[in-house]
């Protein structure tokens, strides 16, 4: 176990969904999968901050309208 008990993830981007099933669908997508990281909760997953626009573009192609908060 590490000496430090907390770790700060600075400047990370997150995808939050209302329905956990939707997150599973997102995780299954082969293109989106490359941008995704750890699941933080059943409705939230980490995403590469540099890839937000690519994620938005792909989600749009899949018929979604993700809200992007700065």
């Amino acid at each position: 176990m590490s000496a430090k008990k907390t770790k700060v993830h600075k400047g990370i981007a997150l995808v939050e969904v209302q329905d956990p099933l939707l997150l599973e669908e997102i995780e299954r997508d082969p293109i989106l999968k490359a941008f995704l990281g750890e699941r933080l909760s059943e409705c939230c997953i980490a995403v590469q901050p540099q890839a937000v626009e690519d994620v938005v573009k792909r989600l749009q192609t899949l018929g979604h309208m993700p809200r992007v908060l700065e």
Binding site: K4, K10, E70
Partner: protein
């Protein structure tokens, strides 16, 4: 007054003679330098003295003081070059007189404590460094509003049929179209701040389709940039919230904003239009940041201000008034202008012709196109006469804002069940048009413009910062009939889709070792939100003494090489993307919920030679140290690349030093007797050749001892580097010193563009797609010579994944030549699908 210098500081920069001249002008009989400064400072702060001085000023002097005060400070050459703005016939004398009276103070910036009144004339006539002047604060506060320019244009008689004022001004339409083009295209900009050539061509094409000339778009873009409605962001022009603010203002306010932005913009699209051959030279004389740069526009505006609204004037007389006030407004009196134009014949005649060909056309266009387009003036049908409108009076700062009809129409739109919207532009206020441009696709232009609502267009509008509910309200208010029910239903669907997925761009997440620790931490961090068991989304500063992973930069390598074929990342080094990367390499084992992770290479992941090469690249990219050979060997062996190991009994002869071994190796035809060399000291002798080999050694004075320990005295890690060094002397002679190259590269390193990063496997797919489709790619590449990665644009032509270090080759735009890039060193990549090479 300048914010940086006091009156005393300015006066200290004057020579004693200059102070004497100012004192003499103020009838102060003081001889001592310090006394002069004190006396002048007192006078220039005394309201009674100031009022007395101002009262005795001529109108032109008052205007000159106001101009300097408006700009804060001005260089004398700049002030003297714009006499028309204050109506001075002898601007140099005017400025000298104001400085002598102490109403203008020379700033002690470049004078080195030696400003003399004669510097003013010298700076203008001999090009000596020009002093900068300002109006002392106490004087500026007491300056009355200056009288308008004394320039009379003869009134014309009322035309038989005065034109009707237009409800939608041309300027509004052109401005809105320009914003729409910028929004749709988000054109790239060059380092000089101009439109990228390819995108400019696209933008002009879109403008042409919308009925907008190239020049009109250039002017509208210059105005938009000055207004802040368009701004550069990430190397592209984008529209800003200021554009929406402008569109939602009243018509007089909108027009005033456009006109003021045009006057103050330092872009010169109008000069480009009317002086195409002289533009470069003119631009050199119209230095950025000077009043001279915008003089021609301001002069025309000042002359218009001096005219009566509602009275008809001849356009030709207006242009003539400009010439009367300052024929040198665009350097017509300068000798270089005649030389540039290769003028022949009498000077007066040439000047007349040049004025007719350039200046006259420019100022006529200004009245007929620009000011009429903004609704500032009204024109007769033939454009020969104009009058300032009520709106124009307000825009020019000479009257109150006219009462305008409410900028909202209840019958401006028809929303159809097939999601098409017909907008009658003569009834559409700019705010509505702007929202339609942002929320809808334009199908057909014209006075009855057809738009179409689609999911993409609505989403585009929302991403531009608009609210869907407000759009619905606006459509309902502006529509002739109630919105069709299917359209309303679809809006509800879009609203629910919008709330289904939220992406937060730049967050700060705190990871705790356990759920209980997360609960504890959440109670100490105000405004934190729990995410799952162990994570907190925090808005404030993170707690101290914690490990930090910064995702705004390339993530540092995390893996340490363990025994066997395992690699380990400690908890401090892991990031939220590491596990998914490691799962591609092999089997990942977590030491605990908040512990490090270990990955073991998995034979099942390696089927081909390419798989092995890509895995090596992936591990190298994640490893803290250069990858040990055993990992590479195992992967190659699993791919079937490594041959089988063989055994053989051999005779090994060991020497005392490497030089002897080298010397024996150089003996002619020695290869007949030896198999090869083992390390620095030993040779392997062929079977049955030991006797012959001993004879050769004897011939060279070396005797062979009894059989003994032939092992090296030290482990291979000790002698191997020496061996490599010894045999790589020639290679070490590199053409450039690494430090020098590194420094040079860092100096030239372009800015880093944030790009998504992928494992080499996906990177290979992207590169293959790029090579096949001849698309360029942007890559963030961490070169060996540079301390930080840099962004390169690459036209990839070949992908080599057969060797131990997979790489891509192609034309690097930054280097202007062919380059190879190791996939393991590419930290981010983006395919530029819209471009080809």
């Amino acid at each position: 007054m300048s914010e940086t210098f006091t009156i005393k500081e300015c006066l200290r920069g004057y020579t004693t003679e200059a102070l004497g001249e100012v004192c003499a002008s103020r009838q102060l009989a003081v001889t001592n330098r310090d006394s002069r400064i004190r006396a002048l400072e007192k006078i220039l702060r005394d309201p009674l003295h100031i009022d007395q001085s101002i009262k005795s000023l001529r109108d032109s002097a008052l205007r000159a003081l106001k101009l300097v005060d408006w700009r804060g400070r001005m260089r004398v050459v700049d002030l003297v070059a714009v006499p028309g703005l204050y109506g001075a016939k002898e601007p140099l004398e005017q400025v000298e007189s104001l400085v002598r009276d102490g109403l203008l103070l020379a700033l002690p910036e470049q004078n080195s404590g030696a400003f003399s009144i004669s510097h003013i004339r010298q700076s203008v006539t001999n090009g000596v460094a020009s002093p900068t002047v300002c109006v002392p604060e106490g004087i500026a506060r007491r300056l009355p509003a200056p009288p308008l320019l004394d320039v009379e244009i003869p009134e014309s008689s009322e035309p038989a049929t005065p034109p009707k004022p237009a409800t939608i001004t041309q300027a509004t339409t052109e401005f809105l179209e320009t914003l729409r083009i910028i929004e749709g295209l988000t054109p790239r900009i060059t380092s000089t701040g101009t439109l990228h050539k390819t995108d400019a061509a696209k933008a002009y094409e879109m403008a042409r389709e919308a009925g907008l000339s190239r020049e009109s778009m250039d002017i509208s873009l210059a105005i938009a940039l000055q207004l802040g409605s368009v701004a550069p962001k990430d190397g592209r022009f984008v529209t800003t919230a200021a554009a929406n603010e402008w569109a939602s203002g009243g018509r007089p306010q909108r027009m005033r904003a456009l006109f003021e932005a045009y006057l103050t913009s330092e872009a010169l699209p109008d000069i480009t239009l009317f002086f195409p051959m002289l533009f470069e030279t003119l631009e050199k004389h119209l230095q950025p940041g000077t009043q001279r740069r915008t003089y021609h526009k301001l002069l025309a505006a000042e002359i218009l201000k001096a005219q009566k609204p509602g009275t008809w004037y001849s356009t030709a007389a207006f242009v003539e008034a400009i010439r009367r006030l300052d024929p040198n407004v665009l350097f017509l009196q300068e000798p270089w202008r005649a030389i540039q134009a290769s003028a022949r014949g009498p000077e007066a005649e040439w000047r007349q012709q040049a004025w007719q060909a350039h200046e006259k056309r420019l100022f006529t266009w200004l009245i007929r196109s620009l000011l009429a387009g903004m609704g500032i003036v009204e024109l007769t049908d033939d454009g020969a006469l104009f009058r300032i409108t009520e709106l124009g009076g307000y825009v020019l700062g000479q009257g109150e804002a006219p009462a305008t009809v409410q900028d909202e129409h209840h019958d401006a739109l028809v929303v159809q069940p097939d999601f098409e919207i017909i907008a009658y532009l003569d009834r559409c206020p700019p705010d509505l048009r702007r929202k339609l441009d942002m929320f809808c696709e334009r199908v057909r232009g014209g006075m009855a413009t057809t738009y179409r609502l689609t999911q993409e267009s609505v989403y585009h509008g929302i991403r531009a910062g608009l609210d869907i509910d407000r759009l619905i309200q606006l459509l309902e208010r502006s529509s002739t009939k109630a919105l069709p029910s299917n359209v309303l239903t679809q809006f509800e669907v879009w609203k629910s889709k919008l709330s289904a997925i939220t992406i937060r761009r730049s967050c700060q997440v705190v990871e705790c070792v356990s759920a209980s620790h997360a609960r504890e931490t959440a109670s100490t961090l105000a405004g934190s939100v729990r995410l799952g068991e162990r994570y907190l989304l925090v808005a404030c500063e993170a707690p101290e003494d914690c490990a930090v992973v910064d995702y705004t930069h390339a993530l540092p390598p995390a893996l340490e090489q363990e025994e066997g074929l395992c690699l380990h990342a400690s908890w401090e080094d892991t990031n939220l993307f590491l596990r998914s990367r490691l799962e591609e390499i092999g089997q990942v084992e977590l030491d605990g919920p908040a512990s490090g992770m270990t990955v073991s290479l998995n034979r099942a992941k390696v089927k081909t030679e390419e798989d092995a090469a890509l895995l090596v690249a992936q591990i190298e990219a994640l490893s803290k140290r250069p990858l040990a050979a055993r990992y590479r060997l195992a992967l190659r062996a699993w791919a079937g690349e490594a041959g089988e190991a063989r055994s053989k009994t051999a005779i090994i002869v060991r020497f005392d030093d490497p030089d002897t071994c080298d010397a024996i190796m150089e003996v002619p035809r020695i290869e007949k007797h030896i198999e090869g060399r083992l390390g620095l000291y030993a040779l392997v002798v062929r079977q049955g050749r030991l006797v012959a080999f001993k004879r050769i050694l004897r011939e060279h004075g070396i005797t062979m001892g009894k059989a003994g320990d032939i092992a090296d005295p030290e482990p291979p890690e000790t002698w191997a580097p020496r061996w490599v060094e010894y045999h790589s002397l020639e290679e070490a002679e590199t053409p450039a010193r690494p430090e020098t190259r590194r420094e040079q590269e860092e100096k030239e390193a372009p800015a880093l563009v944030p790009l998504p990063s992928y494992p080499p496997r996906i990177m290979r797919e992207i590169l293959e797609e790029a090579i096949e489709g001849r698309h360029p790619v942007l890559i963030n590449y961490q070169s060996t010579w540079s301390a930080r990665p840099a962004t390169r644009q690459l036209n990839p032509v070949a992908l080599d994944i057969s060797g131990s270090s997979p790489s891509v080759s192609g034309h690097c735009q930054q280097h202007g030549g062919a380059r190879s890039f190791k996939l393991a060193r590419i930290t981010g990549i983006r395919l530029l699908e819209d471009e080809t090479f």
